[in-house]
């Protein structure tokens, strides 16, 4: 019962808190060798701007970095996504399940647009990879 009440009150779970402050994949503009693919979505007016840079070498994503302006859930989400796609073969990019973030990070229903926007960013990366 206490745990149930805590979940109702506490806006961020432990994983969200950890990913939010980790910053392991923040874009420091230092990239390994490879082709650079950049995708950016969102707007300041909506309070969320997400940018992912992937470095692709020999059909493999050898680095994933981000820049972001947004809430703790969005920062934790982008950190998770970059960790997931770093090292993936580009054909495996479809296996990333953004919707699982809802449960992993307990993203509240009023932030559903965040999930949609993150899916748009990944779609943009996939599209650019196909066009290359």
């Amino acid at each position: 019962m206490n745990e149930f009440i805590s979940k109702q009150i506490e806006p961020y779970n432990d994983l969200t808190r950890e990913l939010f402050t980790r910053g392991a994949y923040k874009d420091n503009s230092v990239y390994p060798k490879g082709g650079v693919i950049k995708a950016r979505k969102g707007s300041l007016d909506d309070g969320l701007v997400v940018e992912i840079v992937t470095i692709v070498d020999d059909e493999k994503i050898v680095a994933a970095k981000y820049r972001i302006y947004g809430c703790p859930h969005s920062i934790a989400s982008i950190e998770w996504i970059c960790e997931e796609i770093d090292g993936l073969m580009i054909d495996d990019l479809n296996k990333i399940d953004i919707s699982s973030l809802k449960n992993l990070l307990l993203i509240p229903i009023e932030k559903t647009s965040l999930i949609l926007l993150l899916e748009d960013v990944l779609d943009e990366i996939r599209l650019q990879l196909e066009l290359k």
């Binding site: 506490e10 910053g23 923040k26 703790p72």
Partner: protein
């Protein structure tokens, strides 16, 4: 599992003040006192003893406000006082006119009451302050019509600390025979007011904003012809039929002690607040893109509200933990909407969204302020490091 409160630095005193230990002692003693176990409305000894202590507390609050204790009605807090004052007074005077005036930066407890009256057929004017958060007196004068019966303008704003000139506002109303109500939840116990000499007809008070218990407040109502309220609740003769319901003896006693302490300490406390405000702002003001919300010239120094560019407010608050601060009013901070108060001051959505309110109490230390400054700098640095270049 509750979050740890180790190393907690509490800078959310405008939401609720930490209760004073003398207040706790008085309340505990009351709860343990077998002589005051009665219902204060009962005529037996236990009830009369309880009522005796309630009247002592009422006198203590009256001393703080420099008024007669018969002008005070106990309520559950400032929200109820605001509703009773605004809805009650507007209805009381509705046979004379149905136009009422407030300001867009009021607390929701005031704005909600005005919204309700509007649905009841009252005509409502909501004045917009200047970019400093101050009411333009010319706007008030212009808004007054012959049907106007009530003006409600808060004393100290709960988000920015901006302090309105309630003497001038009240005088304008008194000249026109209009009732003047002020929500003084953020000023009573902190700024000395002599209600018998001020042009104020109705005033809302909350105990927990000045070291008292939560759940208890009061409404001041001047005794004068044409000044009154129609009750919102029925079913008891307590508080002269204005506010029926069994009085919570221990809370009222705690409220009385808080009032007594405020009378002794408020001048010293004000100096403490000025010192803390200066120390914090001096430590923050050189950060590029930071700005203070509301004028610094006419404000209660226990509140400092700042916005910063290129930084999301919700993320900032989480990074500032274990500092307890607020983004906007506590009553408004769960809906993720930018503060309507800051929007009314002309702030953009982004500026309002990045706003943090720091509010102090007499136990706040220099060390806590210095840690706050350091953590704020660190948090801003991190969020700007991960932000897209053009936002920084």
């Amino acid at each position: 599992m509750k979050r740890t409160t180790d190393n907690l630095i509490y800078l959310d005193s405008a939401a609720t003040m930490p209760i004073d230990q003398k207040v706790v002692s008085a309340m505990t003693a009351c709860l343990n006192n077998t002589e005051v176990i009665g219902n204060p409305s009962s005529l037996n000894n236990a009830g009369r003893n309880a009522m005796h202590d309630i009247e002592i507390a009422r006198q203590k609050l009256a001393n703080l406000l420099h008024t007669n204790k018969d002008n005070l009605t106990w309520t559950s807090g400032a929200t109820e006082s605001n509703n009773l004052a605004i809805i009650g007074a507007a209805r009381f005077r509705s046979h004379l006119g149905r136009h009422i005036i407030t300001m867009a930066t009021e607390h929701k407890a005031v704005l909600g009451a005005f919204d309700y009256l509007e649905k009841e057929g009252f005509q409502v004017t909501r004045l917009i302050p200047d970019s400093n958060g101050l009411l333009k007196l010319a706007d008030l004068k212009e808004a007054i019509k012959k049907e106007t019966q009530l003006v409600s303008i808060m004393h100290v704003n709960n988000e920015t600390g901006v302090t309105q000139d309630i003497v001038k506002i009240g005088s304008i109303c008194r000249e026109k025979d209009i009732l003047f109500h002020t929500d003084a939840a953020q000023s009573i116990g902190k700024i000395s007011l002599n209600l018998d000499q001020l042009p104020i007809d109705l005033l809302s008070i909350s105990a927990h904003k000045f070291y008292g218990p939560q759940g208890i407040g009061a409404l001041y109502m001047r005794k004068a012809a044409g000044c009154g309220v129609i009750p919102l609740h029925y079913g008891g003769e307590q508080e002269k039929w204005i506010r029926p319901g069994t009085l919570p003896v221990h809370q009222i006693i705690g409220f009385g002690v808080a009032a007594e302490l405020a009378l002794e300490r408020s001048e010293d406390d004000y100096l403490i607040m000025q010192d803390l405000h200066k120390r914090l702002w001096d430590g923050l003001k050189n950060i590029p893109g930071i700005e203070i919300n509301g004028t610094i010239k006419s404000k209660y120094p226990g509140i400092l509200n700042v916005s910063i560019s290129g930084v999301d407010g919700e993320s900032l608050i989480l990074l500032l933990e274990p500092l307890c601060v607020a983004n906007g009013s506590a009553c408004n901070s769960k809906n993720n909407e930018p503060s309507f108060v800051l929007k009314a001051l002309g702030r953009s959505d982004l500026q309002a969204q990045s706003a943090i309110r720091f509010s102090f109490n007499r136990n706040t230390t220099h060390e806590e302020i210095d840690i706050t400054i350091e953590k704020y700098h660190e948090a801003v640095r991190y969020l700007r490091e991960i932000a897209p270049d053009e936002l920084v």
